[in-house]
């Protein structure tokens, strides 16, 4: 089956989507977090009437505006790429996936774009209170837009609230609330936005640290650090908490992804968590996705505890998922070979059903429909030949997960130290801390991007878990077209990124006493 697909088209389509999504995600987390930090700063200004806080608010607002624009530019692509590059996907699940995108536009984008105008141009035209409400609404609007797209993404990881309709050959929504309030979607939203807030807090602390090192804008910098450190400490704790919940979701709904995150090939009871591990470039299994460990440092029983809140629980590894296993709730997960067989039956039954309809053969249509319904759960497996086709790239998933978690913990320490030094009024003299705070800015971006790599690479080869493999989701276009647009995006986005970084650096150098131009 797999040989029927143009893998080069699939790979280039994936590369283009990854490129545009990763560029988009450079800008979005800062927008999401900075919006709230600005709103908090302006609230302090309105409460205290201290013009210093207005100056601080306006300074961070300038950086917000630069970042917001490029986030918008890179965002439009993602919405339309579902159609241009993933048209089969757009039909197969468009009945469910399209709705959150439309709601995002109606509920969130207009709120953002309306009140952002008031936020930037309304200082001398509307009352302080009106302006403050507008700033908060920009923060709420930008986060609402994140909600809807993350609901859509969460649904792809754990499809719920839908039913396959053989007449239209697509999945159709049967319960909007199941889609919206799916635990996977909620966790994904909370984890993603709290990590974005953390990134923004690291950014504000890093920029402020630079001012303190240069002995510039000291008051602005100190006040900004206080707001960002408190905000960052709360949000990073929340990130850890939601990440923990996410892990428990993943082990239940995407056990292969969980095994890949931990590099767990053979599951066991009381499984240990790999705290540090280095993978070798060879694979005993001969599968390029399944590299062996060079060395690893394990914390006994922790993985079982993380997955099931029980240190002795059984955690399935890659080979268990492939060969079938019984989980801790007694649920039997059949071997992948069986799922492939069932998936093929489902695909075959759908074809027979369509043909029977054409031939007006009601009896065959009904029997085909029954067979389809019996096997539909594993529909997507029918496109694979080898059970090991469903193994994601383990090295990249493993490393990304560990980098994300390690840096997340490190940021907790960073915020705690920042607060401690500010409280002791010694932050200006802690040069080592200030220098490291600056270097934490790129690390925050690395952590943020790693999170998405875990989410998206770890779920391969699925675009919709168990139902639709990535390779069947692509548009029927020629590979050359996608190659050309890939490089066009690369050139345009890189050009814009260079301009953005230079503009940001210049604005930071000019500081809050400059009007922005």
């Amino acid at each position: 089956m797999i040989e029927n697909f143009d893998m080069s088209l699939v790979d280039w389509s994936r590369a283009q989507f990854a490129l545009t999504a990763m560029y988009h995600w450079i800008f979005v987390p800062l927008t999401l977090g900075l919006a709230f930090i600005i709103a908090i700063m302006e609230t302090i200004y309105v409460k205290t009437g201290n013009p210093e806080w207005k100056k601080i608010t306006k300074f961070w607002m300038t950086l917000f505006g630069i970042n917001f624009a490029i986030g918008v530019a890179t965002g439009i692509i993602l919405e339309f790429e579902f159609g241009t590059n993933w048209s089969n996907y757009s039909w197969f699940v468009g009945d469910i996936f399209g709705a959150p995108l439309a709601v995002e536009g109606i509920m969130a984008f207009f709120m953002e774009s309306t009140f952002i105008a008031v936020m930037f141009f309304g200082w001398n035209k509307v009352s302080k209170k009106f302006h403050l409400i507008s700033t908060w609404l920009v923060a709420v609007g930008s986060n609402l837009s994140a909600l809807w797209i993350l609901v859509a993404n969460g649904w792809m990881q754990n499809p719920v609230g839908m039913k396959f309709n053989p007449d239209t050959a697509r999945n159709e929504m049967v319960n909007f609330w199941d889609v919206l309030f799916s635990p996977t979607a909620i966790n994904k939203f909370l984890h993603t936005i709290s990590s974005a807030y953390t990134l923004a807090a690291v950014f504000v602390i890093g920029v402020s640290a630079w001012y303190l090192l240069k002995k510039l804008n000291v008051t602005v910098a100190k006040k900004s650090i206080v707001v960002a450190a408190v905000f960052g400490l709360i949000t990073s704790l929340f990130t850890v908490m939601t990440g923990d919940n996410s892990a428990r979701e993943i082990v239940r709904d995407q056990p292969m992804k969980f095994a890949a995150m931990e590099g767990l090939y053979d599951g066991s009871k009381g499984a240990g968590l790999v705290a540090i591990g280095v993978m070798s470039s060879s694979s005993e299994s001969g599968n390029d996705n399944m590299m062996d460990f060079h060395f690893k440092l394990e914390i006994p029983n922790l993985l079982s505890y993380m997955a099931y809140m029980d240190g002795d629980a059984f955690v399935a590894g890659v080979n268990d998922v492939i060969n079938g296993y019984t989980d801790n709730d007694g649920v039997i997960h059949p071997p992948v070979a069986t799922k492939i067989e069932m998936g093929r039956k489902a695909i075959h039954a759908l074809k027979n059903y369509k043909q029977a309809q054409k031939d007006k053969n009601d009896a065959l249509a009904q029997s085909s429909l029954n067979e389809l319904n019996e096997n539909f759960k594993y529909f997507g497996y029918g496109y694979f030949d080898d059970p090991y086709n469903i193994v994601p790239p383990i090295s990249i998933t493993f490393y990304s997960f560990h980098i994300m978690v390690g840096l997340g913990m490190w940021f907790l320490l960073l915020f705690t130290l920042a607060l401690l030094f500010v409280y002791k009024e010694s932050i200006v003299s802690k040069k080592w801390f200030l220098r490291s705070a600056i270097w934490n800015i790129p690390l925050a971006y690395v952590a943020s991007q790693s999170g998405w790599i875990v989410a998206e690479m770890g779920r391969q080869p699925w675009v919709i878990q168990d139902l639709m493999p990535t390779l069947t989701a692509v548009s029927n276009i020629d590979t050359t077209s996608v190659q050309i647009t890939f490089f066009l995006f690369l050139i345009v986005f890189t050009g814009l990124l260079i301009a953005e970084i230079k503009i940001m650096l210049k604005q930071i150098k000019l500081g809050p006493n400059h009007g922005g131009h």
Partner: protein
Amino acid sequence: MFENLSHLALQQYWWVIDSLLGSILVFLMFVQGGQTLIYRLGKSDEERTLLINALGRKWEFTFTTLVTFGGAMFASFPLFYSTSFGGAYWVWMAILFCFIIQAVAYEFRSKPSNVWGAKTFEVFLFINGLLGTILIGTAVGTFFNGAEFTVNELNQSKWANPYGGLEAVLNLHNVALGLTVFFLARLLGSLYFMNSIEHEAIFNRSKKQLLYCGIPFLVVFLFFAIRLLVMDGFAVDAETGVVSMEAYKYLHNFLAMPLVLILFLAGVVLVLFGLIKSYLAEKYTRGIWFTGGGTILVVFALFLLAGFNHTAFYPSNADLQSSLTIQNASSSHYTLTAMSYVSLMVPFVIAYIVWAWRAINNKKLDLEELRSEDHLY
């Protein structure tokens, strides 16, 4: 409430909503039209900055409406989304690139150290205004003239040629619609400047553009409209769903739906009234509301013409029976119902947009305000 409506009623409701979004989008393209006039109307850096800042406070609404229009089409007619976007790849990619470069151009243009220079970002704005409007108009032209795709029994689509939709520019009628949108956007842009900027020279230059752009606009619009009335259209048999060509189909649609005809004619009158009064009167600044309102009515009527009265709104020239109708391309009854409840928020959204706009646009933009502004485009 909505759950009691038939599937067809919901499909029609969503076609109306999408048509409304499309027509508001065309009105808001005054931003794009204005972008193509920056060098025509602004003779100094300061004047150009004034023009760009007047547009810069509105560009996001056009952008957001475009994104919402795309999202709404995806949610309500996903087969159109997958077929057109996945097939007319190059047309949609070209449109998207036009909008990517617009989004940053405003924010980056006047910022120090912007690497590529203010001029580059002004060129981005011009490209967006020129190609964005023409390409969108040309793409919508295929709603009447058809496109080259096939759809199989699993509703998977494939483009029938390797040109990815670019072949649409070979059809004069499509291009006429593209040029109509372009000249209309320039007219709306001129009217917007006359309405929102306090600057005599810019006002007078904008007024001249009403004539310079008005004449070619009328030529291409009349060509498009007359040809539309006399051409064959894509009719759908209500019983069997079979698509066939029907002579004078769109004229028949007008006659079968007199309300749509009235909307269309009223729109044309309003467009012309706004243009003529603004050109002839000495200091008339409210033309944008008449021409803008008229634009919404005309475009709205054209969308209804394309999708209602048993018509294929996205016809296929490659395989007539692959043509898309509001019935075979739509989402399920459940999804349309859920989305219809969401659509009830639209009046609320419009209300807060108007409220916020009024609060910050209570006076025209002038050089004095520009000089005191600390957030400049």
